[in-house]
Amino acid sequence: MTLEEFEQILTSVVHGDKAGPEKAIRLPEEALDRHFEELDVDSLARAEMVTVISDTYRIEIGDDEAGELTTPRSVLEFLAAAERGTS
């Protein structure tokens, strides 16, 4: 998953599929280690995010693993490890 793909997923789960370009979520380097709550991605949106990622990339994500996906970087690193087969 690229950063751009992740931004699209976050935009969709936070603002809906019909979100206009003005709603697009961008993740500059300084945002990657911020907690999702600080980025206005609340716990219901995180639930949807985990489901979308799991369905899109066909990855089983356990409850404990899902609970640890609290920052954008943690998600990107989790996906990268899963793609390498080391998650």
Binding site: G16, K18, S43, L44, A47, T51, A66
Partner: protein, 327 residues
């Protein structure tokens, strides 16, 4: 349905009380989002919002009166009054004795606090009381004023929760059982995923902090999506029935998006009506299952005598469900 070891009972009627409906646009405006945003996350188009005079007790009483009227029963036919509720801010006394008194009764009456699973727990307690032979007729009510505990600025809870009451009458029967075995359980190690904070004993009176319901949507959603489908399969197996025998699936109306996920996971056939009362009423916690059942019964959309599968789940975390013959 498999042979019951207990004296059989059946559900004979339903009743409901819904306070005024408020469109999702109102909560959207308060949260600074669009109505479409609320609908895409929750599916809740409108919610029932109680006024100052619509207490848990008064709503429960009005739902109970409607259920008794539908059963064409006088109040004095009732042996026990059960109220499932977790939002009565006056912790003592219980609500049920006050409901009984409002109905002109002095019978056994008590509350059960299992949040959104409460009604299905109470239904099983009623079935057990009748089964043990101690009584013939039990009034089972689910009633909650959730908005007293909801932060109106919390986007996780504010668009979902609502107020209301639903009731059913359960009676002993000489015929076949109309209330199946319960499937229930809890996961208390995850209680913090849906809880009122701060704890009242942590409050300084001068601080005037209002305890509010906090929901970890991620933890609750994942628990529910794993637990509820498995529980429903057990409910069907415990009753010896399959989806071909079921006319309606009535899950707790937590969130329409979550219900659709559960329905997909269970591969519920199109012939089964899936209750969607929550889209118009909101999440009324213990009242949601009986309200959803009542809407289907009174709309005539489901045939009497066929099976409906009920399942409640929520704070605790806890769940319970059973099959019932539609009254």
């Amino acid at each position: 349905m498999s042979v019951d070891a207990v004296r059989p009972c059946r559900m004979v009627s339903t009743g409901s009380y819904r306070p005024a409906s408020v469109d999702a646009g109102q909560v959207a405006e308060r949260l600074g989002v669009t109505r479409e945003w609320v609908l895409s996350r929750t599916g809740v188009e409108s919610r029932c919002v109680a006024g100052p005079d619509e207490s848990v007790m008064s709503m429960a009483t009005l739902a109970a009166r409607e259920a008794l009227a539908a059963a064409e029963l006088p109040a004095d036919a009732v042996d026990v009054v059960l109220v499932a509720t977790s939002s009565n801010l006056q912790l003592c006394p219980a609500v049920a004795p006050q409901v009984a008194a409002a109905l002109g009764l002095q019978v056994a009456a008590f509350d059960l606090s299992v949040a959104c699973a409460g009604f299905c727990y109470a239904l099983h307690v009623a079935r057990s009381l009748i089964g043990a032979g101690g009584c013939d007729t039990v009034l089972v009510i689910g009633a909650d004023r959730m908005l007293d505990m909801i932060d109106p600025d919390d986007p996780v809870t504010a668009p979902l929760f609502a107020d209301g009451a639903g009731a059913v009458v359960l009676r002993a029967t000489e015929g076949e059982s109309g209330v199946g075995p319960v499937v229930w359980g809890s996961c208390g190690q995850r209680s913090a995923a849906l809880e009122v904070r701060p704890h009242p004993l942590e409050l300084e009176i001068a601080a005037r902090v209002h305890p509010r319901l906090h929901m970890d949507g991620l933890a609750v959603t994942r628990w529910a999506c794993a637990t509820v489908p498995a529980a429903v399969r057990e409910i069907l197996a415990a009753g010896g029935i399959g989806w071909d025998d079921v006319a309606a699936f009535i899950p707790h109306q937590a969130n329409w998006k979550m219900i659709r996920r559960v329905v997909r996971a269970l591969d519920v056939p199109d012939s089964v009506v899936v209750a969607d009362d929550g889209r118009f009423t909101g999440n009324t916690s213990a009242a949601s299952v009986p309200l959803a059942l009542d809407r289907l019964v009174t709309s005539g959309g489901i045939p009497r005598g066929r099976w409906a599968v009920l399942v409640g789940y929520g704070a605790g975390l806890a769940y319970a469900g059973q099959a019932v013959r539609i009254p």
